[in-house]
């Protein structure tokens, strides 16, 4: 569905260099700190910025030269951009109907109404949450094969986020060949949705892992300095100095559970992995 091969983009003080794949039938999460390069990567995929090297293949075509018909097969949410605030929700519906032959007007209207997004309201007058929801509903409205979602749940409360995640799950269940690339700073959203993750840090992919493996095999060891010195470090990915000694990230939880049963070993969530991968030191 999406194949990115060593794509590079240079800005003063920032260098993006990424390889990434999204296979049909999968939901891939893109995680990383603010400014890590997530939005730049989305813009690269969508052809909004030129690359300095490498290639992006989207739906089997060069993403930079994707035609209008191929774009009908994509649904997009951008974190900080959407339809003009001076259009009404009704206008958005009309426009989507003109752009996408597969636009399901009745379904879009029903979903908007059930979310309290009323027809006559201008986009600029919608609440932050409603705007975010309208963007997601627009991306889902035409049966796209591939969704590119940059921070689609930003600004939404927990209930609204859950509704959006349910919509995305239903979208994937409808067709085996669909795929999603999604970024979010709310890790709990992604943990329950994604099949695999890429972590981007300072413009480079520093981690690619299946969700099951990430949640089952990754763990954080909390050790004193003396314990750290005596520790077998062959399976540690990162260490971080703490007031008690070190917190260490491993992707071999079983190894430390069996060999060091006396040590404090906590299953790591996505947040811990992000923090240690971004702020930790090499072991």
């Amino acid at each position: 569905m999406l194949h990115i091969e060593n794509v590079t983009k240079n800005y003063p003080g920032f260098h993006l260099q990424v390889s990434l794949d999204v296979a049909p039938g999968t939901v891939t999460g893109l995680i990383g700190q603010n400014g890590a390069g997530k939005s730049t990567l989305f813009k690269t995929i969508l052809g909004l910025i030129r690359t300095d090297g490498g290639s992006v293949t989207l739906l089997g075509q060069n993403a930079q030269a994707l035609g209008a018909e191929s774009r009908q097969r994509i649904g997009t949410v951008l974190a900080d951009a959407g339809f003009s605030g001076y259009l009404t929700v009704r206008d958005v519906r009309t426009i989507l109907g003109q752009f996408y032959p597969g636009f399901d007007e009745a379904d879009f209207r029903r979903r908007c109404e059930s979310s309290g997004i009323t027809d006559g309201k201008k986009v600029k007058d919608l609440s932050t949450g409603m705007k975010a929801k309208l963007k997601v509903l627009s991306a889902l409205s035409h049966g796209a094969d591939f969704l590119l979602l940059d921070e689609p749940t930003a600004g939404l409360d927990v209930i609204a986020r859950d509704e959006i995640l349910d919509l995305l799950r239903s979208y994937m269940e409808e067709n085996d060949h669909r795929a999603i690339l999604i970024s979010s700073h709310i890790s709990s959203d992604l943990e329950t949705l994604c099949d695999d993750f890429y972590m981007i840090h300072q413009g480079s992919i520093v981690l690619h892992e299946d969700t099951d493996r990430l949640l089952n095999d990754y763990a954080v060891l909390k050790v004193s300095e003396a314990e750290f010195e005596a520790l077998d470090k062959s399976c540690l990915l990162k260490k971080k100095k703490e007031h008690y000694g070190y917190s260490c990230l491993t992707n071999q939880r079983g190894f430390y559970r069996e060999n060091c049963p006396s040590l404090v070993l906590e299953k790591s969530g996505l947040d811990e992995v992000i923090t240690l991968m971004a702020r930790g030191e090499e072991v």
């Binding site: 209008a68 018909e69 774009r71 009908q72 951008l78 003009s84 206008d91 426009i95």
Partner: protein, 211 residues
């Protein structure tokens, strides 16, 4: 392209109240000045309002989102020119019709050919502005683009005045004898050429632009 045109027409529709107010101003103006003023006024307003859709697209990083829709950059530029020229042409026709009605209401017989010349002249004038403005707006953004355009116009005016003063040139006598219809025909051809040239430049600007 249909989706883009519909989007722009809806944006223009949402400015309905402003347009009605401007129309009312035009009507008042035509009572105070020559009725033909309303043709130029409405055509000018129409062109400016159509070009304003570029500012709406630019607002809140709208370009980024628009270009994720089934739209190519070339398609976007072509639609913008099409919209601006056709919308301005519609406004020129409406202006000519309003002027005809005002002339009739004042008990005079309108000179249809003369009014049509006014309408066409106004349309060509605004087409020149469109041809200048769109590439500037795309290159520098709405705000900066406008400033750069004004600077460009002032520079041209200053250069023209300087040239006149330095050469002491006056308009040649034959200019007064030129047939207005023929002059309009030549102007129309020149305006078309300029619009096409401007569109090609705008396409190149858009292709290079990053969002």
């Amino acid at each position: 392209m249909k989706g883009l045109i519909v989007k722009d027409l809806l944006l223009l529709k949402n400015q309905g109240k402003t347009l009605l107010l401007l129309l009312a101003c035009g009507a008042v103006m035509s009572m105070s000045f020559e009725p033909q003023t309303v043709i130029v006024y409405l055509t000018m307003i129409g062109g400016m309002v159509a070009m304003g859709t570029l500012s709406y697209d630019e607002m809140d990083k709208g370009y980024s989102y628009l270009l994720t829709l089934p739209v190519t950059r070339k398609m976007y530029v072509r639609e913008k020119y099409l919209l601006c020229v056709l919308w301005t042409a519609c406004c020129a026709v409406i202006g000519t019709a309003v002027c005809t009605v005002i002339t009739l209401a004042s008990g005079q017989k309108p000179d249809t050919a003369d009014l049509c010349l006014y309408g066409l002249g106004a349309l060509l004038g605004i087409c020149l502005v469109i041809a200048l403005m769109i590439p500037f707006q795309l290159k520098f953004g709405s705000e900066k683009g406008r400033i750069v355009l004004y600077a460009f116009i002032v520079l041209c005016a200053v250069a023209f005045i300087l040239m006149q003063r330095l050469s002491g040139a006056k308009l040649p006598e034959w200019v007064a004898d030129v047939n207005p219809q023929a002059a309009l025909g030549v102007s129309a051809a020149a305006a078309c050429l300029l619009v096409v040239l401007s569109e090609q430049i705008a396409e190149r600007i858009m292709m290079k632009k990053e969002f």
